[in-house]
Each structure stands twice: as structure tokens, then as C-alpha cells.
Amino acid sequence: MAIKLVRVDFRLVHGQIVTKWIHTIKADTILVVNDKLANDPFMLSVYQMSAPLGTKVNVVAVDDFIKHWHETKYDETNCMILIKNVDDVYRIYKGGVSFDAIQIGGLGGSASRKAVFGPITLDKTDADRLQEINDSGQRVYFHQVPEDGSAEFNSVMKGIHFD
């Protein structure tokens, strides 16, 4: 029992994609680490109601996540962690949390962002921060859905430049 997967996905609990990953990794809980959702019990209940059968959905604020990670490493759970963006990933990293691996699943799109692997985009700040985390020894990789291939951070970033 422990954290089975750490995924960064801008849509958080997004029906099919989360269902696929939950089945792939055989976790029984989705733990959303997000300040906004931690203060919105109504939307949490929406996610809980629409979760795949047998899957629990819990939410924790970023600072509380860091605190509890230092206490137990979440060993008491069998969960998939969902984080919304690289800003929060970086806060968690700076809080001293160390994951084995961080899966980048989707970060949305906007004019300042560049597609680096399939539809997954980064901007310069995201790229720099993920580089720092990857260099620290936590494996950062891109993987959208289980059926498609994944790619390591360094091999994807080769040949990608931000102005």
C-alpha cells in the first residue's frame, strides 16, 4: 500500500482518463491535491458521485498534503494522486516531498504554451521547474493515456527551446 501514481492533469478528476489509470494501477482511491477543491465540498461530492464504482475520491490542500506526507508518506493508502498544474507540483517539491515518479498527463493550452509531447504543453516556467525536479532524481515523464506510449522528460526536452 502506498502512492501508486502521481499524475499532473489540468482537468483533475476527468472521467474516462482517470478511470483508465485507476484500473491500470489497481488503486482504490483518487487523492486530489488542490487548494480550491479542498474548500468546495459541493464539487467534491460531485466527483465522489461520478467516480468509478469502488473508487473513493478524497481531497487535501497542498500544505496539508506536504505535512501528512512527512508524517506517513501516505503508506496507509492505495491511491493515485492528482495535481492540477506544475505550480502545485513545484510547491510540493519545495515542501520536501519526494516522489518516485511524476506523470505529466495534460496541462491545457494557451498562446504562451508549446506542445512538447502529443497534446501536452509546457511554458518556460513549467519546463524549468520540471527540469529541476527531474534533476533532483524524481523521474518526470509524459504519458496521456495508458494505451499510448510514454516519454522521459529529458528525451522530450531535447530540441525544445523556449525564447
Binding site: F10, H14, G15, F42, V46, M49, S50, G108, G109, T121
Partner: protein
């Protein structure tokens, strides 16, 4: 209170469903689709749906999939707007909604559309033979 219909779907399914309905039943009024596109975040979609809403109207929202982002976004907005939500939107429902909108209350229409939903999925050849599978 004016009743409006909002079709909220993954991709352009809702926009095309409106076009398909108009192909059969003619031009529709008081109906809008808001499509969740590939690169939109939940926040982007929330803003897009909110732009279609005002406090003076009542909305019957037809969405594709329970638990999907369009449905969740509508649930979120149901706290601030006068919204009813049905999932499983299809062509028979939209055809019926377009001809019934403006008659009766949103409650009546909602109930009626759920009946339409239940009545319109069946095995066609079996029905022709007189068997009533699922209907």
C-alpha cells in the same frame, strides 16, 4: 421566466446535434450549444458556459455523460443559476425539446424529455416483428 435550452457536450457533438435537429425540424430558437474542446481546461469551459447564462432565465441543460466535465461544470453552475440538468442527450430528445420549448414549465419539459429518452432506444427489426424489446 423565459426558458432556454443549453446543450453541453464533449467536442462539437452538441453543435452538430442542433444542426441535425434543424435538418429535420427546422430552425430552432432559444437553444445554444457549448462545446468542450480538446485543449480547454475546466476553468475555460466554466467561463464559456457562464457566458451563456443570465439570472433572468431558466435553463434546461442537456448534457452527454454523467461525470464528464460538461456535466460537472453545469452542476457547479447550478449553485448560482436556475438550471435543470439531464444527461444522455440525443436527437429524439432535442427534436422534442425544440417543439415543446415555450409550452409549459421546465418541470413538465424535463419529465417529458426523460420519457422520450426511455422510449427511443430499441431493437428496430424486433419491433417490426411485433416484439417490444425495451419498449
Amino acid at each position: 421566466m423565459e426558458m432556454k435550452i443549453l446543450v453541453c457536450t464533449h467536442g462539437r457533438f452538441g453543435e452538430e446535434l442542433i444542426r441535425s435537429t434543424e435538418m429535420i425540424g427546422g430552425k430552432l430558437k432559444n437553444i445554444t450549444a457549448v462545446s468542450l474542446l480538446e485543449d480547454m481546461s475546466m476553468d475555460d469551459y466554466y467561463v464559456a458556459v457562464k457566458e451563456e447564462l443570465d439570472e433572468r432565465s431558466v435553463y434546461l441543460c442537456l448534457t452527454d455523460l454523467f461525470g464528464g466535465t460538461p456535466c460537472n461544470t453545469l452542476l457547479n453552475l447550478s449553485r448560482d443559476y436556475n438550471i435543470e440538468i439531464l444527461c444522455g442527450v440525443n436527437l429524439p430528445m432535442l427534436l422534442e425539446a425544440s417543439s415543446s420549448c415555450g409550452f409549459g414549465t421546465v418541470e413538465d419539459l424535463k419529465k417529458h424529455l426523460m420519457e422520450v429518452y426511455a422510449m427511443n432506444g430499441f431493437d428496430v427489426l424486433e419491433k417490426m416483428k411485433g416484439n417490444t424489446y425495451g419498449n
